[in-house]
Each structure stands twice: as C-alpha cells, then as structure tokens.
C-alpha cells in the first residue's frame, strides 16, 4: 500500500489527487472532532477504535492511490467518472453446433463467478488486439482473445450435452444513439471466428 502510494506520488501529483487529499484530510479531522467518535477512541474501546481508524485510513489510501490492482482489497471507487462513448459497442457470441444449428452463447452467464467481469475483459482484449501495432504483440493479443472464446465454448459444451459447438462467431454490435429499444436493428458485423477444439485451453 505504501509502495503504491509512493508510486502514485512519483508519477505526478495532479489536481484531483491534491483535492481528494484535502477533502479526506478535512473529513478525518471533522470525524475526529465528533464527540461520538472521541468517546470510542478513549477508555476501554481505545484499541478497538484505533484498529478501526487504521482500517479507515487504509480505505482512504486505497482510494487516493487509485490502483486497485496493487492495493486490493483496498481498491479505489471510481464509477462513471469519465464521459461515456457516444456509440458504445458490445460483443455477442454465437456458436455453430456440429449439426449446423446457430445458438447465442450467454457470455455473462457462462462463468457465473466472473459474470460481467468476463464480458468487460473480453471487450478489453478485443480492443487491445485491434489497437496493437506491433505484429508480434498483436498475435499474442489475439491468442488471449481466442483462448477466452475457446474456454467459453468448452464450458458451454460441458454444460449443454448434445451437439457441441464447433465454431464460435463473435459479433461486434454497435448501440445507436436513437431508437435503442429495437435491439434487432442494431448495426452489427462479424468480428472474429474461432474454431473450437477439444483440449485444455490453458
């Protein structure tokens, strides 16, 4: 946590960081002056109170560092803070079964533990692979993307006995700025095809 905070400081102090430091400093000072809080930090409850204060300080430090990948479980909370894309996109996966039938693969429900974390990662991998300019790195990016699609298909096959998925077709779907409720009319294009083969994708 300390190392992450130092790295954050070294990478440059911006107005947001300074402003938040000031805000949480004032917030802690305000809390410390509350008689209810002061009572808890004295007498029999002092040790317990100090542990809780340390916990709160760690939470605030995690917020200020803003690098949850380093500071977990004390991560930063930044939801919907940046302007959204005007034309958002998402990926939709279809599976071609061995008998020729086409099925929609519910990506967010294939690995229930990961849920939407998986679909966000999936979209990120797709964007990274498309944006990569170094050919070798791009091959690596696509390998990761295809590996994830393979895992999803194998998991789908495991959960759905019968005709297995032999090919995955990933569609890129664009959400229009108007008439959004008609999802059938969304512009879409085939983004990638992945042949599904048995065996461990690891």
């Amino acid at each position: 946590m300390v190392a992450a905070l130092l790295m954050r400081l070294r990478s440059g102090v911006d107005a947001v960081f300074l402003g938040e430091c000031l805000f949480y400093g004032l917030l802690l000072a305000w809390l410390a002056r509350r008689p209810e809080v002061q009572r808890r930090l004295r007498g029999d409850d002092a040790v317990y109170g100090l542990i809780i204060v340390a916990f709160v300080v760690l939470l605030i430090a995690g917020q200020l560092v803003s690098d949850g990948r380093r500071t977990y479980p004390f991560v930063h909370w930044a939801m919907y803070t940046t302007p959204a894309r005007k034309a958002p996109i998402f990926l939709e996966c279809h599976g071609v079964l061995a008998d020729g039938e086409d099925v929609v693969i519910p990506a967010a429900r294939i690995f229930k533990s990961l849920s939407v974390r998986l679909t966000r990662t999936w979209l990120k991998l797709a964007e990274a692979a498309v944006a990569e300019t170094d050919p070798e790195m791009q091959v690596e990016s696509w390998r990761k993307f295809d590996g994830l699609v393979q895992s999803m298909m194998l998991e789908y096959n495991r959960k759905n006995p019968g005709s297995p998925v032999i090919e995955a077709v990933v569609w890129r779907v664009m959400i229009p700025a108007s008439k959004r409720s008609n999802t059938e009319a969304y512009p879409r294009e085939v983004f990638r095809r992945v042949t599904v083969s048995d065996g461990e994708p690891r």
């Binding site: 809780i52 930063h76 919907y80 990662t121």
Partner: protein, 298 residues
C-alpha cells in the same frame, strides 16, 4: 447518533446477516469453474501478488477451488452459529474470503459488488458479536458501548465507500459528466449488452425524453448524496433521505443497468435504519421473558 442503544443482539444480528449473505453468495457461486479459464488471463491483484507465482496453477485447479469452497462454507456456518473462539475462525475466514474475491477479480475488472460485504466481515471479525444468538453457552457480555462501536464502525465504512464514488465523480468528471448525456450512454450500454439478468428496461426508459431528463437530473442528485454520505451517520433527517435515495438507486441500477448491489441494500437497511435496534430489542425482550418464565417454572 445511530446505534446509541445497541446491545449484544444488535451485533449478533449483523454477524448472522453478513456471514449468511457470504454463505448464500458462495453456495451459489461455482468458483470451481475458474479452473477452466485460461491461466494467461490471470494476473494476481493486490495482496494476492504476495503469493509465489508457482502456486497459481495449484490454486486455480478444480480440487483446490472445491476444497476452498467447502472449508469456507463450513467456516461461515460456524460464524453464523456464533461458535467460539470466534476470531480464530473469523480471521482465517476473512483471509479466505479475500483470496476468493481476489481470484475472480484477477481475471479482469475489479468491480465493487461484494466489497462492502467483505469490509463488514473484516470489522465483525474483530468485534464482540458472539455474546448473543450463539449456540455456545452465554458468557459475560461486553459493555453496550462496544457493540455500538462495532455497528458504528460498519456504518462508517459503508458510508465512506459511497463518499468515494461521489467525490471522485465530482473531482474527475466535473460538470461535463452531468451535462454531456454520458449517463444515457452508460445506461444504454449496460442495458443492451448481454448481462447477468437479461433485463433491458433501461433501453425503454431512454426512449422517453422526459424519463431521460429525469435520469440525468437524478444522476447529479445521487452523486451529491453520495459525496455527503458521511453526514448520514450524524444527521437523522439527512439519513432518511439518504437511505431512500440509495435504495431507489440500487433498485434502478438492477432494472436499468443489470448491476446488482443487493448486499449493500441489506447493509444500508441494517446499519442506517432502525431495523436492527427494533429487531434486537424485540429479541432481547423475548429472551428475557423466556428466562423469567423458566425461573418462575422452577
């Protein structure tokens, strides 16, 4: 101030609720499926990075994940029942919960759905919360101020997480985030993409200009409430409006954005409404009456 009148039953209600929520969550979570995910996508986060990299193929194997799940379920059951020595079970359980939640987040996005529940478990692990509603023999209770301190600490941590969101949105997004229809795009995206609930009610809301405008205004009002969350600990009037606002917000994100913060909703009700004091007083009176009836009988 909230939780001024807390007793052993108040802390016990929180213990039972929080660890039951974890039990339910883990019971329905097939974490063993992570063994089928490509290891190349796994990048350990935060404290998980302290473990040697050689350990990950073993940890992310089916047998290990199954074992972890079963042992954690047993530990959670013991915590719900209030088995002592409490902290000797609670602290390893919290470490295991941190690992469990870290594993899923190490495959990609770090979301926040279960974090308030995790922080509540941390606070409970070091709190006197097995002095009532426990299967063990009753023992000398702590002072009521200790129980109040535990509940106040949990409420503080919960409110702080909301403060983080509001303050960061104002600090980074400025006024632009509220004026450029970003929230409409976010709702469209979350509602349209294949999600966990397959409810795209948000898309229907966006079809109505008045509803869209209401969404934009409530986005700003919500952010202001989030930024001021700590006030809810001390001001009763503000607390009630805050609770209504947050519960409304969490319900609306389920139906319009397929984002569920169900654990937060339960914690908001238990920690920031009179639900816990009422329930604990009722339980306390019931037990006292039973004890008295037992004495009268003998």
């Amino acid at each position: 101030m909230i939780h001024k009148t807390s007793n052993a039953e108040s802390a016990a209600i929180l213990r039972i609720t929080v660890f039951s929520m974890w039990f339910y969550h883990l019971w329905h979570d097939p974490i063993q499926e992570l063994a089928s995910m490509p290891l190349v996508l796994f990048s350990p986060i935060g404290v998980l990075d302290l473990l040697p990299s050689d350990a990950w193929p073993l940890i992310l194997s089916g047998p290990f994940l199954w074992t972890m799940k079963i042992l954690l379920l047993i530990a959670l059951l013991l915590l719900i029942l209030g088995v002592r020595p409490f902290w000797r079970i609670a602290i390893p359980a919290c470490i295991a919960l941190t690992l469990y939640q870290g594993l899923t987040r190490s495959f990609g996005k770090i979301n926040h759905g279960e974090l308030a529940m995790l922080y509540s478990a941390y606070v409970l692990a070091i709190s006197p919360c097995v002095d009532a509603l426990s299967v063990m023999k009753p023992r000398k209770s702590s002072t009521n101020s200790r129980y109040a301190a535990a509940l106040f600490a949990m409420a503080t941590v919960l409110c702080l997480t909301y403060t983080f969101v509001g303050v960061r949105r104002f600090a980074v997004g400025g006024s632009e985030i509220f004026l450029d229809e970003s929230i409409l795009s976010y709702v469209a995206h979350r509602s349209a993409e294949p999600g966990p609930f397959n409810i795209n009610f948000g898309l229907m809301v966006l079809e109505h200009p008045l509803m869209s405008k209401l969404l934009e205004v409530s986005f700003f009002v919500l952010t202001a409430f989030e930024a001021l969350s700590m006030l809810a600990l001390f001001n009763r009037r503000f607390r009630w409006s805050w609770v209504v606002m947050m519960l409304g917000f969490h319900v609306s994100t389920i139906i319009t954005m397929q984002i569920s913060f169900s654990a937060n909703m339960i914690l908001v009700v238990l920690l920031l409404t009179p639900a816990t004091p009422y329930a604990s007083t009722w339980i306390h009176t019931l037990f006292a009456r039973r004890t008295q009836a037992g004495r009268d009988f003998t």
